[in-house]
């Protein structure tokens, strides 16, 4: 029995590799020095989806919300084997917190219509909240299993999964449709397939086509530009390389539940963590230096 799977993915700044080189002189993070990457646990979620299709057949649809640049993770998903990829991009979705984001993604999944399984990475490395998966499940009225580390089996529309519970694991059965969030130990994501890279590297969303055409035509008239965009779009569509780009109207979203108006949590203040080197007492690596350090720790009662 084949299963239709939707995978939610996100493009994130590579916060895991903030090294001394990515720090500015004043000790704050140089965001521009961080590459944008496929959120790591979303790759694990995609791998689970592809394994389901390998074993039982069906389809894998990848969705992402973000700026046009996030089309990069959609192409990457196609390279790895996804059947369909949709980007939800809309300025009115900017500044969405997890509640608004989960609403937009849930509306997108509703609009897709057919799904047996929804997969998300457990959390994204830029926020580490792990909230969007459970919040999508609630909005779609689906049962959720978080921290999935193995999809054991699916028999007649019932999945058996193993989830990590911190100090151990449990195996649970759940009827589909259901939502699972996947952790990094679940699998080793397959790499992009060379043949699929060749095929899909020219795939574009409409916003990218427009930007590329405008950049290449420089000072052409509006009419020429629009004409060139239409031609290029039609050409890609014929080749099966036009990626889907949806906005909030396409998913029939209630705008009061999106973006800033739909987000109960507000960032009130942000402080950079300043890495300074002034704060510590340097102890020379000598017997005398270390004896004095231990003495100091005994005197201030840190050591009993």
């Amino acid at each position: 029995m084949p299963y239709d799977v939707v995978v939610c993915v996100k493009q994130v700044p590579d916060t895991a590799n903030v090294t001394a080189e990515a720090m500015k002189e004043d000790g704050t993070v140089n965001r521009a020095a961080l590459p944008a990457i496929f959120n790591p646990e979303d790759l694990n979620a995609l791998e689970v989806a592809l394994e389901i299709r390998d074993r039982w057949g069906g389809t894998v649809t990848v969705i992402s919300m973000g700026p046009p640049k996030a089309a990069e993770v959609l192409r990457d998903s196609l390279y790895r084997g996804a059947d369909r990829a949709i980007l939800i991009t809309d300025r009115r979705a900017a500044a969405s917190d997890t509640l608004a984001t989960s609403y937009i993604l849930a509306q997108t999944i509703r609009t897709i219509g057919r799904y047996d399984i929804v997969l998300c990475g457990r959390q994204a490395i830029d926020g580490d909240t792990a909230q969007v998966g459970p919040q999508i499940a609630e909005k779609l009225g689906l049962p959720q299993v978080t921290y999935l580390e193995q999809l054991v089996d699916i028999v007649d529309g019932q999945a058996r999964v193993r989830r990590n519970v911190g100090r151990g694991w449990e195996i649970v059965d759940v009827h589909l449709p259901a939502l699972f969030t996947v952790i990094s130990t679940a699998n080793q994501p397959r790499p992009p397939a060379a043949r699929r890279v060749m095929r899909f590297k020219r795939a574009r969303i409409p916003a990218e086509i427009e930007a590329e055409v405008r950049a290449s035509l420089g000072n052409a008239s509006d009419e020429e530009v629009l004409d060139a965009i239409a031609k290029r779009t039609e050409e890609l569509r014929r080749q099966g390389l036009l990626l889907e780009q949806w906005n909030l109207d396409d998913i029939h979203a209630d705008l009061n539940r999106c973006g800033l108006p739909g987000s109960p949590t507000k960032v009130f203040r942000v402080q950079a963590i300043v890495l300074t080197k002034k704060g510590y007492t340097e102890i020379p690596p000598t017997e005398e230096g270390i004896r004095r350090l231990i003495h100091e720790l005994v005197v201030d009662r840190t050591l009993g």
Binding site: Q135, E138, P143, P264, V270, Q271, I273, I294
Partner: protein, 343 residues
């Protein structure tokens, strides 16, 4: 969501497993007590489960004024949907102003589901909570005594303060080990309020087949001193130095992810974002470069000694004492100095 209710209580979700409360719950009771005292309101603890009434006195001793007990055999094992139903039902009935959950795998599964159902705000993994008047910079409106939800973001490189003006309750998960566990006061008084919540069979979507929980072998959280080694230790054999120093000093052995991934030591010793969060009186970091993920799990330590050959290692940015040198020479010197110290 509920409208702001400034007389509402401060609540803690009392996570329990097989009849014993999670440590973080008791830490949260102490924090809730402090917040509630500033707000002039009571502390409530929501305790769903089966045959868990005996836990109420512990919650009260740690700061709760009221324990909302929801006993049902169908709540014996945690399941997201019925537990979320319990929380939402009680939140709508009592309209608390704040609800806190432990940022455990269970709390992080449940809390967002409750927030979504309530269409209320939710902040994950807070490391600090404060009460303060806040002026909305957009509308200039004054919101008295809001909960400041403070958390690291962007991989731990920034600290963000999150507020929720008007879509209450104000809800947050809090990481284990970041709030101090206050000593219980067995003479505190509190009441137990029994609540009935309809748990329909249809809410029980999951069937538990098998469960395996490892006993907690390494007790990093209660250690006064932790000696932790990183990738810079170099090998499993050289990790003996870390054990030896810990033995002499009477501390526990910790490790960075690099050391665990290299197979020097088991994962149960890992400290950091994906391991345990600790706040000992003394933390000795040997051969640990100090990636943000590691720092997030230990930077609250009262004193930090960093030993590293690289003077630019980020660990020095949070250290109180820094030793630039080879740990294979420095640690034996420390062991010697400790053995010879006057008692």
């Amino acid at each position: 969501m509920i409208a702001p209710n400034r007389q509402g209580e401060v609540w803690v979700f009392a996570e329990q497993e097989d009849g014993s409360l999670h440590d973080v719950v008791l830490e949260l009771c102490g924090k809730a007590r402090q917040l509630a005292d500033e707000l002039g309101v009571a502390v409530g603890a929501v305790l769903p489960g089966h045959q868990v009434r005996g836990l109420a006195s512990k919650l009260i001793a740690h700061g709760a004024d009221r324990v909302y007990l929801v006993e049902d055999s169908r709540l014996a094992h945690f399941q997201t949907i019925p537990y979320a139903r319990v929380l939402c039902t009680l939140i709508e009935k009592y309209r608390p102003q704040i609800v806190l959950y432990g940022a455990t795998p269970l709390g992080r599964d449940l809390a967002p589901r409750v927030a979504s159902a309530m269409q209320a705000g939710m902040t994950a993994d807070c490391t600090d909570l404060q009460i303060s008047d806040v002026v909305d910079p957009k509308t200039k409106e004054l919101h008295p005594k809001l909960l400041l939800q403070i958390r690291p973001a962007f991989g731990g490189n920034i600290i963000a303060t999150i507020v929720n003006y008007d879509r209450w309750p104000q809800m947050a998960t809090v990481r284990e080990g970041v709030m101090p566990l206050l000593p219980p006061n067995p003479s505190r008084n509190g009441e137990v309020i029994e609540e009935k919540v309809e748990i329909d069979e249809s809410l029980l979507a999951l069937r538990l087949i098998e469960r395996h929980i490892e006993p907690r072998k390494v007790n990093l959280k209660s250690a006064r001193v932790i000696v932790a080694g990183g990738g810079g230790v170099g090998s499993k054999e050289d990790f003996r130095l870390i054990y030896e120093l810990a033995g002499v000093i009477g501390g526990a052995v910790g490790a960075s992810r690099a050391a665990v991934d290299s197979g020097f030591i088991g994962k149960e010793h890992q400290i950091g974002q994906t391991g345990t969060t600790v706040r000992p009186a003394l933390y000795i970091a040997a051969g640990i470069s100090g990636a943000v993920q590691h720092r997030a799990g230990m930077e609250e330590s009262a004193k930090i000694i960093a030993i590293n050959t690289d003077p630019n290692a980020p660990i020095f940015s949070i250290a109180h004492y820094g030793i630039v040198g080879d740990l294979k020479k420095v640690i034996p010197m420390m062991i010697k100095a400790l053995r010879e110290r006057p008692k």
